[in-house]
């Protein structure tokens, strides 16, 4: 289990998030979402152990591992990779760094990536696929993906997601992804952390959300119910209650409503 305790993180004197705590169970597939600028990517960097928290601790639950990055596969949103190197050279560097013995990357052929080509010659989608296959090739226990799949064409995105699903089925890694495209991954995740500027607004399993989140259409917010979000939409006023009675909702609708409501509060 990965435990974050009272973590404050950010850049410089002004923290992006303060004193946040949550646990991630082994094998969980967590989506971190929330409005722009609330520190989702920053939190992912902290989890990736490449940005140190100003205060607080992270316990990965790997007592025998000296450097947690050994078991982390991090796919940033910035296409951060040595683009001037050849595919084969960077793969060799990566495997050498992680101390694994590999000789090929299965996704390359399907993404039409030549082993001898320079990374700068690849399309954005191919770069993402290459980086993803690279991080998966070291068998990470924790996979961190930061939104980047949005910039990939539908074919390559499908390829990436299928590979991810296969990896999750085979190896049961913990996956944390920052995501704003809910439809695409709602069937993959089993926990959602919704971040706002003031901290974690929601940290629930998708099972709980689908069973208990309900939509109430009424001008006034229902009494004696925990209304977590409200919005005016296509000429009617909707309220999200958790738990409560009302219309059943899809995960993507729950999160979209939370997002709209959060923006109204800001």
């Amino acid at each position: 289990m990965i435990q974050l305790k009272n973590v404050t993180c950010g850049y410089g004197k002004n923290p992006v998030q303060s004193n946040i705590s949550f646990d991630i169970n082994d094998g969980d597939v967590v989506m971190i979402t929330g409005p722009n600028g609330v520190g989702k990517s920053t939190l992912l960097k902290v989890l990736a152990n490449i940005l140190y928290p100003t205060s607080g601790t992270i316990n990965y639950g790997w007592p025998d591992i000296k450097d947690p990055r050994q078991l982390i596969g991090y796919l940033p949103d910035s296409l951060s990779i040595y683009k001037s190197m050849k595919v084969k050279d960077l793969a060799a560097l990566h495997w050498n760094a992680f101390g694994v013995k590999q000789s090929s990357l299965p996704l390359l052929k399907e993404a039409s990536i030549d082993w001898n080509s320079r990374i700068s010659e690849l399309s954005v989608g191919q770069k993402v696929i290459f980086h993803l296959s690279l991080i998966l090739s070291t068998g990470p226990k924790l996979i961190l993906i930061d939104e980047i799949l949005h910039s990939v064409d539908p074919h390559l995105r499908n390829l990436a997601l299928e590979t991810l699903v296969k990896t999750m089925a085979d190896r049961k890694p913990t996956v944390v992804m920052v995501n704003l495209n809910y439809n695409e991954v709602e069937h993959l995740v089993n926990r959602v952390i919704f971040l706002t500027k003031t901290g974690i607004l929601l940290n629930e399993s998708t099972e709980y959300l689908l069973e208990n989140a309900r939509l109430v259409v009424a001008d006034e917010a229902p009494e004696n119910a925990n209304v977590v979000a409200s919005r005016s939409y296509t000429g009617r006023t909707e309220h999200l209650v958790l738990p409560g009675a009302g219309e059943q909702m899809k995960l993507s609708d729950i999160l979209t409503m939370l997002m709209v409501s959060t923006y109204k509060l800001q």
Binding site: P76, S78, S80, I81, S84, M85, D89, A97, F98
Partner: protein
């Protein structure tokens, strides 16, 4: 990683030494233009001196150029390398190349110690020691400075000037101050070992101490903004840099 850094180092060194091709061109142009042109060896010496200096500083300055141009700093940090290994991987190939060329330069171009006219054994020993220190320590200081600017903001001119003052101190004002100290010590007939240690300390300590105050910052090196780190670096370096600048001033008054 070693392979990448060695390749980068050799490419950068090759780029610097391609300037040597200019020497015959400049010599040829001048021999057409000037009636009393100097011998080619003068041009070669000046060109090689300049190239060796350029090599050391450009290798240090371009230490993180591939991370900057490829936007690969986050990727580098995500690899499970310890900070000390990264320091070694970045510095050692560059330092090795710099040392090889400086050593070659000293053997063929610089005045060998035997040519020193002074009969004073202590002065000769001091000179040889100084030469060895310049050959070995200055490139190390320059590489450390290059590494530190690389993990912060190598485009920050104030930071670059501060590091230049610190790294060039043992080359220019340090020896001037040391020779003055040596002359004063000779007049007072002081202990020779103490004099030697004082000379070394005068030449090296200010720069070494200035670089070492940045160790805590190096230990907290993560993927946070380099610009922010350079601001903290400048604050930490303020007092040592001010002291070294004062020593530069003092040396100029004694020249």
């Amino acid at each position: 990683m070693w392979k990448k850094e060695i390749t980068d180092t050799l490419k950068q060194a090759g780029l610097v030494f391609s300037f040597l091709l200019l020497i015959p061109a400049v010599y040829w142009i001048n021999s057409m233009r000037l009636t009393d042109n100097q011998h080619f060896s003068h041009y070669a010496e000046a060109g090689i001196t300049l190239s060796v200096l350029m090599l050391v500083f450009s290798l240090a300055y371009m230490m993180f150029s591939s991370e900057d141009s490829d936007n690969a700093s986050e990727y580098l940090k995500s690899l499970p390398f310890s900070k000390w290994k990264l320091l070694a991987v970045k510095i050692l190939p560059r330092l090795a190349v710099a040392w090889i060329f400086i050593f070659g330069y000293c053997c063929f171009v610089w005045f060998p110690p035997a040519q020193i006219s002074s009969n004073n054994a202590l002065f000769r020993a001091g000179y040889i020691l100084d030469e060895l220190l310049i050959v070995s320590v200055i490139p190390l200081l320059v590489m450390l400075s290059g590494f530190l600017t690389g993990i912060s903001d190598r485009k920050n001119p104030v930071l670059l000037i501060a590091f230049l003052l610190l790294t060039l101190y043992p080359l220019l004002p340090g020896p001037v101050l040391a020779i003055n100290l040596f002359n004063k010590a000779l007049m007072h007939q002081g202990n020779q070992t103490v004099i030697l240690i004082s000379i070394i300390a005068t030449i090296l300590l200010p720069s070494i101490v200035s670089v070492f105050v940045l160790i805590p910052l190096y230990k907290s090196w993560d993927c946070a903004s380099g610009k922010m780190r350079s601001q903290i670096m400048l604050k930490r370096m303020a007092i040592p840099t001010a002291l070294v600048t004062a020593l530069w001033g003092l040396a100029f008054t004694q020249m």
